[in-house]
């Protein structure tokens, strides 16, 4: 910790949409309290003042998709005492990891007029595939309450209250009627980690797994059930190949149904 | 020296618990009782394995020589336990060394002689080897538990 007594916070961005770091600025009620407890030392989106590292707490958004970023994440790790990845990109590779299932060269030529200028890795990968991560916060985007909890827990040296059980748990805690059982909607809730307070079911739609697989996600049982209920194999592939499609439990399932 | 006859000393040792009297008498003929001071070597790692021991009193440490670390203690063998079975299995050399850490009293049997006795009396040999096997099994179990590191702090 620096002499000022306040730990230093850094926010890093890799391939992402900025939504997760925006969630920090979206903590309108607590932003100034946070700034009172922790020095915002390196957060380009919010401040042009860059304080030199090392940093006590680093929040890392985004996935690794370029050689340069592959190197940069190691520098970030070196400069960070406690490194937390925030969001689906950083924890599983994000939506851009859909490239992992295709030929990235073809992707480049589809999007770019001058493919030779594009330098990119074949895969989009999670931060933890490259460096040691001290805590992974899920979500596309992260829940700002959970983000606050992680920061608060860090400041208080406690374990954050971040459950890894299913979305169904939150759905029932909230009193929402299951959209899958009562309306036959496809829902990824049973294999998805909680954190959103069952947002989609509460909006009367099935969960599409922003938060990625729950602990011990039984993807094959759920996928089998979908199939039995009339979903096509292509649909199942798309379901498991979403914002966390590169997470192990989901990737294996989508590959199984793709064949 | 010991006023007690060897046979009754051996009879008190757990190794021979419930062994038929005639067997015990025959084995006792092979035993000598020996006292070791603290820190004496009983046998060295790699040396020819000649003897079978029962610890009567005291404590024996099993040790091995590791490059860079010197002698490392692995386990102790306490009063009531047996020591040394390498005379039973090729290449008939001690895999580890043994040394006393306290004044220790041992019953020592010559392995070759024991085998000769067993040849003549397979019943006795069977009784004896079964006990050795039980002891080895226990030792193996203990070693496994040691490996498990069960008291370790899980968060370290």
């Amino acid at each position: 910790m620096p002499k000022s007594g306040k730990p230093k916070l850094a926010v890093w961005k890799f391939a992402s949409c900025d939504g997760c770091q925006l969630s920090l600025l979206d903590c309108e009620d607590q932003l100034l309290s946070i700034a009172g407890k922790i020095e915002i030392a390196n957060f380009a989106e919010a401040s042009s003042a860059i304080v030199k590292g090392p940093y006590d707490l680093s929040l890392v958004e985004g996935s690794i998709t370029t050689e340069h970023d592959e190197e940069r994440i190691h520098q970030v790790r070196k400069a960070s005492r406690f490194l937390v990845t925030i969001g689906a990109c950083a924890t599983s590779g994000g939506i851009q990891a859909l490239r992992n299932f295709s030929d990235v060269k073809e992707f480049i030529s589809l999007v770019y007029a001058r493919p030779q200028y594009i330098s990119t890795l074949r895969k989009s990968t999670a931060i933890a595939d490259h460096v040691k991560v001290d805590f992974e916060l899920r979500g596309c985007p992260v829940s700002k309450d959970q983000l606050l909890e992680v920061i608060t827990a860090y400041l208080g040296k406690k374990k954050p209250n971040i459950p890894n059980y299913s979305v169904c748990m939150e759905c029932k805690l909230r009193g929402v009627v299951c959209v899958m059982v009562s309306q036959g909607k496809i829902c990824m809730g049973p294999v998805t980690q909680a954190g959103c307070h069952a947002l989609c079911p509460s909006c009367n739609r099935g969960c599409y797994s922003c938060f990625g697989p729950k602990e011990t996600a039984n993807s094959s049982s759920l996928a089998g059930w979908f199939l039995q209920k009339g979903a096509s194999r292509e649909e199942i592939v798309r379901l498991f190949r979403g914002f966390n499609g590169n997470a192990d439990a989901f990737r294996k399932e989508s590959e199984y149904y793709e064949e | 020296m010991n006023a007690q006859p060897i046979e009754s000393i051996l009879a008190d040792h757990p190794f021979f618990k419930e062994i038929p009297r005639e067997h015990l008498a025959r084995v006792a003929l092979q035993a000598t009782i020996s006292r070791f001071d603290k820190g004496e070597v009983i046998f060295r790692e790699g040396s020819d394995a000649r003897n079978f021991y029962l610890v009567l009193k005291g404590r024996v440490i099993i040790e091995t020589l590791l490059p860079h670390q010197g002698l490392v203690n692995i386990q102790t063998v306490e009063a009531g336990e047996m020591l040394g079975w390498s005379w039973l299995v090729p290449p008939f050399r001690y895999r580890f060394g043994a040394r006393t850490v306290q004044p220790t009293e041992l019953a020592i049997f010559n392995g070759k002689h024991l085998l000769e006795v067993f040849e003549k009396d397979p019943q006795l040999g069977y009784q004896f080897l079964r006990r050795v096997l039980v002891a080895i099994t226990e030792r193996l179990e203990q070693t496994r538990l040691q490996l498990l590191n069960i008291y370790d702090n899980p968060v370290k």
């Binding site: 900025d18 939504g19 969630s23 979206d26 989106e45 919010a46 998709t65 851009q96 947002l199 | -």
Partner: protein, 429 residues
Amino acid sequence: MRSKTIKVDLLARVEGEGALHVKINQGVLKEVQLKIFEPPRFFEAFLRGRDFREAPDITSRICGICPIAYQLSASLAMEEICGIKVEGQLQELRRLIYAGEWIESHVLHVFMLNAPDFFEVPSVVHLAQVHPEMVTTALRLKKLGNTLMAIVGGREVHPVNLRVGGFYKAPAKKVLRDLLPEIRWAREAAIRMAMVISGWEFREFTRDYHYMALSSPDTYAVIEGSLASNRGVDVPVSKYDEILTESHLAHSTALHSRTRDGGTCLMGPLARYNLNYDHLSSGARELAVTMGLQRTCHNPFRGIQIRMVEFVHALDEAERIIEQYEVPSRSFMEVEPGAGTGYGCTEAPRGSCYHRYTINKEGIITDAKIVAPTSVNQGPIEEDLWDIVAHNMHLSDDQIKFICERAIRNYDPCISCSTHFLKLTVDRE
């Protein structure tokens, strides 16, 4: 004078990551480059093969700052293909959540990204030490925008409640009506803040811009209208590609969106204000007058004021919509896929966000094109920078750097959005 390079390696207080390189040789300005080093993410590529209903959720992930723009542009395009038109209360709800996005995004830009420049402090947290009241007010205003997004959309970033055809669930009347006092407070506060801002010093700088935005005869266009400009463009959104094309420019490694004749055009608040002033709410127009703004404004450094005008407009819109809101009988219109190509364009806080999709009869996307406003605005940004640097070469590097950064921030460029088509060069020595 020796040759020198002014570099800002990491642009601060913009969304996403970019850099600025200015090269001056013997006192002559040689190069101005706004570099984007956001890695490419290939949205248009992996949209192929996805179900058309997934486009709003997937494309919102292009940008966490203005997800509604993506969700609605995508939805409009899909609805066009499938031959439905969302109207009535559902359309009003779309306007309402868009107002929420404008409120949130404009406050973010005005107070958290741009205002620190006027006080030469690095961040809103530092600003809070100088002007605590302004910052707490700003945070409360921002929260209102987020609350609107959360009520209508489920959450602030990447809302889940929007779908092709409308909404998954219509919000209850009461929760919306409960917001009215806060909206009314917000308007008072916004006007108060706008007057404070008007007292700040604005750099004198004007150029003859080609403004482009959606325009409608009935309303300050956000999710409707045609693509119009002050130089005579007035075409339906489906003709977007005929007006604007992406091209490589010699001095830049990035793809720029340019008009057919190679010119640049400017999108966003300044363009909308200049093109659609008459459709601003009366309160917003009143504020513009009180702030001393004319019917037109050609100084991008006054963008912060224009955003306050739009901010009040968005609040007025929100109030109007909520006051007449009735829960619609159906929260969405049924959509059956039909093969074809469709176009959608809506006004993101930063300018027009354009989507084009082709889907097959199974509803699977076979082609997608997305142009974010920042790619269009890159042209005028670089031109502004040329102008500014050329006129201020007598200043120190640090001063030039500072002015350039401010000039870029005028546009509130959202680099995250841009990166799925902007070329990446990594040139950081």
